[in-house]
C-alpha cells in the first residue's frame, strides 16, 4: 500500500496541442508535453527551434492557444503576474536582472509576492550561492555573466516556486560557472522543486534530467528519459557530434 502511494506519479503541468508565436509568425506547432511532480525535464533543440517561446507561453509572457493545465487548473485565463502566484517561476534567457538594483534588491523583487518566510528564502539563496551574499550590495548590472546567472536563479527561487522554468541558464558561461549552475539545478530539484530546463548544452542537461523532449522547428520530434535520449543515434548525431 505504502509502496503504491510513493509510486503514484502526479502530473503537475500538462500541455496539449499548444500553438504560439509572435504576431503572424507561428513558432510552436501543436506541442504536447507533461511534467510530473519532482522531475527535472529538459527541452533541447537548436537555436530558433521554439524552446524559449515554449517557456514564455507557459509563464504567460506571450499569448498561446491550446491547453496548459496546472494541477487541473487552466493557466490560459491568467495574466503573467498571476501565474507567478501559482508557483510557476520563469528565469528568462539572458538573465534580465535589474541592472540598477543591488543584489539584495534584485532578490527582494524575486520575493515580491512573498508574504512569509521571506528572510528564510533569502538565507536559502545565499546558502546555495555564497558569492551572492558577498556581493549583496553590488549593483546587478556590474556583475559578470556567471554571477548574474546565479542572481537570476536566486531571484527566481525567492518566489517560492513549485515549478522553476530555466531558459538557457548556461548560455555564455565559462565551464566552471556551467558546472556551478548545473549542480545548483540538482540541489534545487532535490529540495523538492520541479524543474523545466531549456538548454543548448544538450549533454549536461539530458544527463541530469528524468525526462527530455527534443524540439525542432516548433514541433516535438523525440521524447524519452534523459538516458534514452543521450543514447539515441539521432540525438548523438545532431547535438553531441558523435
Amino acid at each position: 500500500m505504502l509502496l503504491q502511494l510513493t509510486l503514484e506519479v502526479v502530473t503537475m503541468l500538462d500541455i496539449q496541442n499548444l500553438n504560439a508565436g509572435y504576431g503572424e509568425m507561428p513558432v510552436l506547432r501543436a506541442i504536447s508535453l507533461s511534467i510530473d511532480d519532482g522531475e527535472i525535464v529538459s527541452v533541447v533543440g537548436s537555436n530558433g527551434s521554439g524552446k524559449s517561446t515554449l517557456l514564455k507561453a507557459i509563464s504567460g509572457i506571450i499569448k498561446s492557444t491550446g491547453s496548459i493545465t496546472w494541477n487541473h487548473e487552466s493557466l490560459h485565463v491568467l495574466k503573467a503576474h498571476s501565474i507567478v502566484q501559482k508557483g510557476i517561476v520563469h528565469v528568462p534567457e539572458g538573465r534580465k536582472i535589474f541592472p540598477d538594483m543591488t543584489v539584495v534588491e534584485n532578490l527582494m523583487m524575486g520575493g515580491y509576492l512573498c508574504k512569509k518566510d521571506c528572510q528564510q528564502n533569502l538565507d536559502k539563496v545565499f546558502a546555495l550561492f555564497p558569492k551572492l551574499a558577498q556581493r549583496r550590495n553590488q549593483l546587478g548590472g556590474t556583475m559578470s555573466g556567471g554571477e548574474q546567472q546565479m542572481l537570476a536563479i536566486g531571484r527566481g527561487l525567492m518566489g517560492n516556486p513549485k515549478l522553476l522554468l530555466l531558459d538557457e541558464p548556461s548560455l555564455g558561461l565559462s565551464p566552471l560557472f556551467t558546472e556551478v549552475v548545473f549542480s545548483a539545478i540538482r540541489t534545487i530539484n532535490s529540495s523538492g522543486v520541479t524543474v523545466l530546463l531549456v538548454e543548448q548544452n544538450v549533454y549536461q542537461s539530458l544527463n541530469i534530467s528524468h525526462k527530455g523532449y527534443v524540439i525542432e522547428t516548433g514541433r516535438i520530434v523525440l521524447t524519452g528519459t534523459g538516458k534514452e535520449l543521450l543514447n539515441n543515434q539521432d540525438v548523438k548525431k545532431a547535438f553531441l557530434g558523435m
Binding site: 509572457i61 502566484q85 541592472p99 524575486g110 509576492l113
Partner: protein
Amino acid sequence: MSFLQPLLSGILTGGVYALAGIGMSLVFGVMNISNFAHGDLMMLGMYMAYFAFTLLHIDPYLSLVLIIPTAFFFGFMLEKLFINRVIHHPHQNQILLTIGLGLIMSNTALLAFTSDPKILTTTYSSSAFNLPGDISISLPLLLSFLITCVIISILYLFLAKTSTGMALRATSQNREAAQLMGINVAKMSAIAFGIGTALAATAGALIAPTYYIHPLAGHSFLLKAFTICVLGGLGSVVGAGVGGIIIGVVEAMSSTYLSTDWKDVIVFVLFLAVLLLRLEGLFGKKGGR
C-alpha cells in the same frame, strides 16, 4: 549685479522645473511613453490652485493637500482609460494620443475659463527678503523650492524603500522581468502615470502665485520638461532633478547677462548640444532602454 543673484534664483526656479521633469521622466521610465500632455497637466494644477484660492480661500501651497491626490487619481484614470491602449504600440501613436489629450485639456480650459490670464495674488506674492551682498530672494519662490525638496525626498524614499516603489523601479529597468517577478506591470503603469500627473500638477500649483495662469500656460513648460528629461537622461529620476536645476540656472544666467529674449534660445542650444554630444544624457545609460 552679483553673480550669486541669478545663480540663487536659478536654483530656486530650477527646483520646480525639476519637479515637472521628474514626473515626465518617471512616466517615460516605467511606460516608455513620452507624455506630451505633461504641460497641460501642469496647467490644470495651476487652475486647481487658482480655484482653491479664489473659491475655497485655501492658500495655494496648502491646497497641494487636495491637488496631489486629485491629480494622482486623474492621471491614474487617464492611464486606465486611454494611455494603456497604446503602451505596446509605436511611438507615433503614443505621441498622437498624448498630444490629443493635451489639446482636449487646454481647449476645455479655454472654453471654461476663457483665454484671459488669471493672477493668483497672495499676501506674500511679491514679498522678498534680502541677504547680505545685495541679494534678494522672493518668498514664494523660496517656499516653492522648499516644498519641492520635501516632495522629492518623499518620492525618493517611496521609490527606494517601499515595495510598490521598488516594483516601479523594477518595471522601468526591465518590464518583462518585472512581470516574471509577479509584478502587475499594467497597474505599475497606471501608478506611474498617476504620480507623473500629481508631480506635474504640483509644479503647476507651485508656480501659480508667480506666473500668469492661462489655458496655454503648459506649453512652454512641456518643452522645458522635455529638455530636462533629455538633459538628465530619459527615464532617470535623479538626472531629471539635476537637469531641472541646470535649466533653471542657465535661464536665469542668460536673462541676466544676455537678455530675457535669449533664455529660450540658450536652453535649446543646450538641448541640441546634449543630443549631439551625449545622447544618453548626463545620467542615462549608453544605448538607452
